[in-house]
Subunit: 248 residues, 8 copies
Amino acid sequence: MNKDELRQMLKKVSSGEMSVDEAVNRIKLSTFDEMDFAKIDTHRGVRQGENEVIYGEGKTAEQIIKITSHILKNSAESVLITRLSEEKAKEVSKEIPLFYDKTSKIGIAGKRNENKEIGNIVIATGGTSDIPVAEEAALTAEYYGNKVTRLYDVGVSGIHRLLENADVLIDAKVVIAIAGMEGALASVVGGMVDCPVIAVPTSVGYGSNFEGLSALLSMLNSCASGVSVVNIDNGFGAGYIASMINKM
Amino acid sequence: MNKDELRQMLKKVSSGEMSVDEAVNRIKLSTFDEMDFAKIDTHRGVRQGENEVIYGEGKTAEQIIKITSHILKNSAESVLITRLSEEKAKEVSKEIPLFYDKTSKIGIAGKRNENKEIGNIVIATGGTSDIPVAEEAALTAEYYGNKVTRLYDVGVSGIHRLLENADVLIDAKVVIAIAGMEGALASVVGGMVDCPVIAVPTSVGYGSNFEGLSALLSMLNSCASGVSVVNIDNGFGAGYIASMINKM
Amino acid sequence: MNKDELRQMLKKVSSGEMSVDEAVNRIKLSTFDEMDFAKIDTHRGVRQGENEVIYGEGKTAEQIIKITSHILKNSAESVLITRLSEEKAKEVSKEIPLFYDKTSKIGIAGKRNENKEIGNIVIATGGTSDIPVAEEAALTAEYYGNKVTRLYDVGVSGIHRLLENADVLIDAKVVIAIAGMEGALASVVGGMVDCPVIAVPTSVGYGSNFEGLSALLSMLNSCASGVSVVNIDNGFGAGYIASMINKM
Amino acid sequence: MNKDELRQMLKKVSSGEMSVDEAVNRIKLSTFDEMDFAKIDTHRGVRQGENEVIYGEGKTAEQIIKITSHILKNSAESVLITRLSEEKAKEVSKEIPLFYDKTSKIGIAGKRNENKEIGNIVIATGGTSDIPVAEEAALTAEYYGNKVTRLYDVGVSGIHRLLENADVLIDAKVVIAIAGMEGALASVVGGMVDCPVIAVPTSVGYGSNFEGLSALLSMLNSCASGVSVVNIDNGFGAGYIASMINKM
Amino acid sequence: MNKDELRQMLKKVSSGEMSVDEAVNRIKLSTFDEMDFAKIDTHRGVRQGENEVIYGEGKTAEQIIKITSHILKNSAESVLITRLSEEKAKEVSKEIPLFYDKTSKIGIAGKRNENKEIGNIVIATGGTSDIPVAEEAALTAEYYGNKVTRLYDVGVSGIHRLLENADVLIDAKVVIAIAGMEGALASVVGGMVDCPVIAVPTSVGYGSNFEGLSALLSMLNSCASGVSVVNIDNGFGAGYIASMINKM
Amino acid sequence: MNKDELRQMLKKVSSGEMSVDEAVNRIKLSTFDEMDFAKIDTHRGVRQGENEVIYGEGKTAEQIIKITSHILKNSAESVLITRLSEEKAKEVSKEIPLFYDKTSKIGIAGKRNENKEIGNIVIATGGTSDIPVAEEAALTAEYYGNKVTRLYDVGVSGIHRLLENADVLIDAKVVIAIAGMEGALASVVGGMVDCPVIAVPTSVGYGSNFEGLSALLSMLNSCASGVSVVNIDNGFGAGYIASMINKM
Amino acid sequence: MNKDELRQMLKKVSSGEMSVDEAVNRIKLSTFDEMDFAKIDTHRGVRQGENEVIYGEGKTAEQIIKITSHILKNSAESVLITRLSEEKAKEVSKEIPLFYDKTSKIGIAGKRNENKEIGNIVIATGGTSDIPVAEEAALTAEYYGNKVTRLYDVGVSGIHRLLENADVLIDAKVVIAIAGMEGALASVVGGMVDCPVIAVPTSVGYGSNFEGLSALLSMLNSCASGVSVVNIDNGFGAGYIASMINKM
Amino acid sequence: MNKDELRQMLKKVSSGEMSVDEAVNRIKLSTFDEMDFAKIDTHRGVRQGENEVIYGEGKTAEQIIKITSHILKNSAESVLITRLSEEKAKEVSKEIPLFYDKTSKIGIAGKRNENKEIGNIVIATGGTSDIPVAEEAALTAEYYGNKVTRLYDVGVSGIHRLLENADVLIDAKVVIAIAGMEGALASVVGGMVDCPVIAVPTSVGYGSNFEGLSALLSMLNSCASGVSVVNIDNGFGAGYIASMINKM
């Protein structure tokens, strides 16, 4: 059952043409797998348009292997695993085919998507220290088939670096602006483009940076319209939202 | 010169086919009006795809009238004015044709856009006290021609109110989720739809709400993918971004 | 002297029928053991209806052994030890019979209560990472004889997981809602049940979660009536209070 | 349809004996009234065991009158209105029979409950300035039929005032401990009783009190077991929860 | 006794050529005037190179008049008064010749300095709402004889406005960058010039701006070297420091 | 030159009977030793009535040995060293006679004061985890010759433990109240005694304790008069101030 | 019964020579007056050595009159009322003889103490804006019979003002150091004297002062030994503690 | 092309005498080197008057070597590397000639500047623990050719240490005041000199120091004019700005 079929069915339910019960029965088999320590939401691919993602932090390698195997066997060809440490990645790759990227700590189990040509998401960072977060966003977006253009180390303290790449920005369908410290990149980029900007504050910095608070507040208070913000260091979230918008 | 022409020209500049100087000369006349107390960015309509917006707070009625008149005469048919108090609205309307909405404190000077049929932006609020922020978002989105569906007072403490409107949410192209207090609406909505959700924390609440901080942090930490956040009470920003996405 | 006898006696004191002095003498022997580094409150079982609990963090294995032995010898059949690290648990178990649970870091010295049939406490968590806190609550509640129903990984971003377990929630006499990140679970559960909800924010999350602050504020600002909150990660406290209420 | 009938029906739905659709149809008429500015949750009385409560702050007198009239006509004999300013109370009382208490800003529209004999809720405050919050709690609890014992101005800086009333506390089925400044009352009371304590921090104080933050943190960190906390100044919430527990 | 004479004398004291006692006697008459409610530091002009400045907030018009008269009679030709409300300015001007500027709330009592030709201080603001703070800085700098170039409303969301004025910035000897909201202006300007930048965060904004905190943190974390920061809204401080540097 | 002689001399200087220069010469030899990495304030014993104390944290064992040796040779019979880690203590004791206490991390180099009979300082703690801070205070006070009475683990959640020791508290000349978590001990003790109470918040606790913030705010907001506060975990400071007061 | 008699009696109780009951009966008549809205602690004069003080904020003029009258009639010759607004002072003075000081908002009802010759408390302030807090401290200390020396406007930015008054500070038995903004006065004074320093942060300042937070943190972190801190703007508390110490 | 030539050229562009395009072409070759992980801003030496600086934290030794080699080969004789750990310094020094200072963690690759005679920057610290930050500032300033006078351990709790060095301060052209804990040094120094003071808060301290927050707020609220502030522990920033000012 694909997304459109599901949508049609749900509308029938809302309008009374089909009972909720009946609907539930139809989608039941594929949706919800109970494991002893987790309820895997295999239907999320249908409901939200993307497959289940596993947040690797706070899960053991063993738990990750179990959940991933289950999903690969039942409902998807690949699984995205974020915040996967190198040690856990090693463990997982013994049991399951795994692509792993050290910088972003992203793992992709199963068959990796080779098609990355949808639209154009530009990912800009203020400095080189923001790259791990940027790569989390980039690999997430590519996992969902989007074309990603990387524009790293173009922070506002050397504004000409950003301006010389103005044409790259102007061609974007969505921009992800990633910066720590004062987080000014989001505002400057936001004033240069006419597409949505997803801002990601990073915890890069020290002292009154307060673990990313300065960049977070800065981005939330951006004087440029068109900027919305995700959690500190949340590269995955930004890549996911950008993918949603880019595919519209 | 429309947006596409501008884009073409800027690309020529980036590629070296046209000098920046030449480009600047071509767009100079229309872009940048110097007043004694403000530099009006009349070109923003071109660059960002939307007309200049005036943030009414902290400006006198007199200043608003001057800037608005200038824009209406030179570069646009209408001007959106946000955070316009009733008293200032009265002053402005003596000099300039003005639509004014008390709830949202939105004013629209000049010719109001009657066409509101693009796509579908659903605006959901947790309670009735969030409505002023919601209307700021709604009127902003309608100003830019978007179709807006209002879904007010569907907060999570009575989850069935939200579920009974699931079909409205599923039909959205973008959702704006507006809530104060604990801001849980964004997460719940984010888990129900497969389109981008713009979350707006409001300062509705008291005590440890700390003027909207609780809803802000809650939304930034949403466990649902697809949620990005704007500043506390920033209805305009949400409406503007939603419009960008909805028109894609 | 059991609780009712104590209560009768204290009332006589308040009304003047018995002198405080006399009362103090009667209860003196059993109540208050002075050790060189701690004043063990052995009477607490009487006064508060439950036995002394040892907070293991910040105490050495040696101190824990001494206090536990003392209590087991003088005033109780078992002792609950919270936040007991694996290493200390090993040390303690060399000297004293100890049940130990790694996930929750709970230890029970002496004779473990096998009867867990009182009432019904439902413990719900937003994710799998909240389970250690949940188990601290669950084992605490079971230690005091309560029936506990676990409902883990039912976070609001997949609201159907929660709804499909609505009947479990409706049968609860008390609910403990445990969640990190945005902490929305407490509000949603609070709106679904007509019994008290004890909310436990956890430090699960990152960035603007600020070590549990986001979930804490979210839960304190819950728009659902019937929700009260304990300290971040305080599974023991929640289990203890739930037990009090459940036994009423 | 009373609560038990509803519970039976919902269980049938969960077990599959009845379709959700059928269930929805059966409860539809009585549950959910759509007004132009609010969705009144008339079914809440059934679902949560208590009637709808109106939070008066941020609503106009006119809105309050409309909602109250609607409820009184359709689903309840009385409505509790919290945070109702004196001016609004005057307006409301012109249209609807209203009991109003200036200190707590509580209004009760319709027929006031005269029976206040269930169990025993003791409400203790640290000082006289905490009385408005205490009365909000007291009148809420009495509205739901509970017996309330007031124990005001027994703050810990004069510990003998509290101790001389130990018998009052010992007879409580639930205690509400309300204090501003350093909020120590909750801990001291929590150590004296063997029943649940609902702690309410108040914004009474100045300087580093930071609008109630000091009492809030103090209460969340209480070293006494059995204490849970609600939002700053949230007398209503405490009264509501205490009522739930007291009626068990 | 001018500054150089004083410096010579103090060096003699340090080296032991003159006793501290003797030195104190020599400078005693002119330095320190005791009034009943304030100790006027008339020697500050000598010690710090500038005359006494009166911070008007929290002083009554009467107190300001007394101190100002005293200074004008004994030690200076003019006095700078900051944060002087319009009402107080009216009172003061009845007794003392006073220049007053409503926007910046700056008053200058006595003979106003007409010579403003030293060096070149450029004052840039992000928006029009920052102008009151900017004028406080500008009038302070001009009061001390500096040439001031105003560059208002050049915020980073319309980066071309700033770039088109690059030549003005490049000619500066010191720049004062004033901005609220996200405060990005300081970083961008800091990356464009090779002179010191004094950053002034303003409280302009709302929501998570938290009264200027976002701009403050942003500026303290500037990724551009050469930026130092003063208190929120402290136009006077920035003007004073810029004057010190500009006169070098 | 003892304190009274110094005081006389300084008064002559103030009144003009003696030149500052002459005074400086007289006290010069003994007061101020320049080392390459520190300026040892050997005169502080005279000026403040107590000898130099070395804050061990952030200094290498080598630096501590150098400074200590210097002081022992030139100006004092013993030196108090606070926050001295066990490893550093080992190093120091190889070179200098050293008393060392592991719990408090206090070291005393040179001849330890055996006389501890002045007045009566009572040191009370809320729990056993506060003992390290309490011992820092106790050993500091004893170092300066004060009699110290320890009253540990008398936290307010078992208020009878505190009350049973009321006579100990009533005999105090100064009380030091040390507590983490909610810090209520200071208020309760403050209400029981008529002598100054020095409150020391500790970082004992977790979650919303925020590293001692809850106890700090609680103590600053104490409703009991007579309570003043020092920094979190600052046992030394409390012991030092208590000594000052106790010796009056 | 005076303080020494009470002390003797309490010791007998502790040692078991007298029953608590008997003791309670003996002191009962004088200690505790129940009014309908407050429990007046008339025994506090005995227990804490000073009379009851009324905190005027948050009490109506009527309540203040009732409590004051009661105390004056039953247990004391005068009552200190703090934070008494001018309007309330007017109301009170119609019913009761009242000394009132506008600057400090202190009222003294009944017979004012004329004897102010005990010891020597020096009160220093950083600026003139700190005077209201300083006078609250000064009048409190004088009320209890202490000699007070005022040293106002000696802030550290003009360090010579402070140094020229070194002899005044050296003669103090206790110093109260009151400052807003950066609060450095406490540290500098703390390094100059060998007596206890009570530091009072004030809310004087703006911007990143955050209502007194900057001075509060500064004083808590004072590098000078001998400094303890009270709440922001708490002049009364400082005066009360200083009186306790000064009378030793 | 030196700075003056560049400045002339940019002015021609601004006035229209030269096209931006032409200007860009002229400076292109030397300005901007693209590496795979970083965009090296080799032109910054020209634009900002100083060479590129490498922030070592968050970069691998390998990355540092690559960037440094590139710069040394193409555009500069030396490179300043800040926050370079000892381990990385070892790695780097295997490939590139490197001066390294353990205390400040500063590395200088290439030919070290031997000329340190420009002007006079005085660097004062409150304690010995602030020395690492001070040396970061000192070595930075010396790297750029400035004369640096060190004045360490002159904190305000022993104010005479500071005063005895008044002549050193008076001779400064710029002062850098570095202090942790309460950060009062900046204010006291600011009141003693008539030159700009750059204040550096350090994270030295504990408890309510909150990682440098107390010193930061203290310095931002300095009551002395002429003080501006950089980020916590930002010795490099202070040295850089001081160098800018000192060279004027």
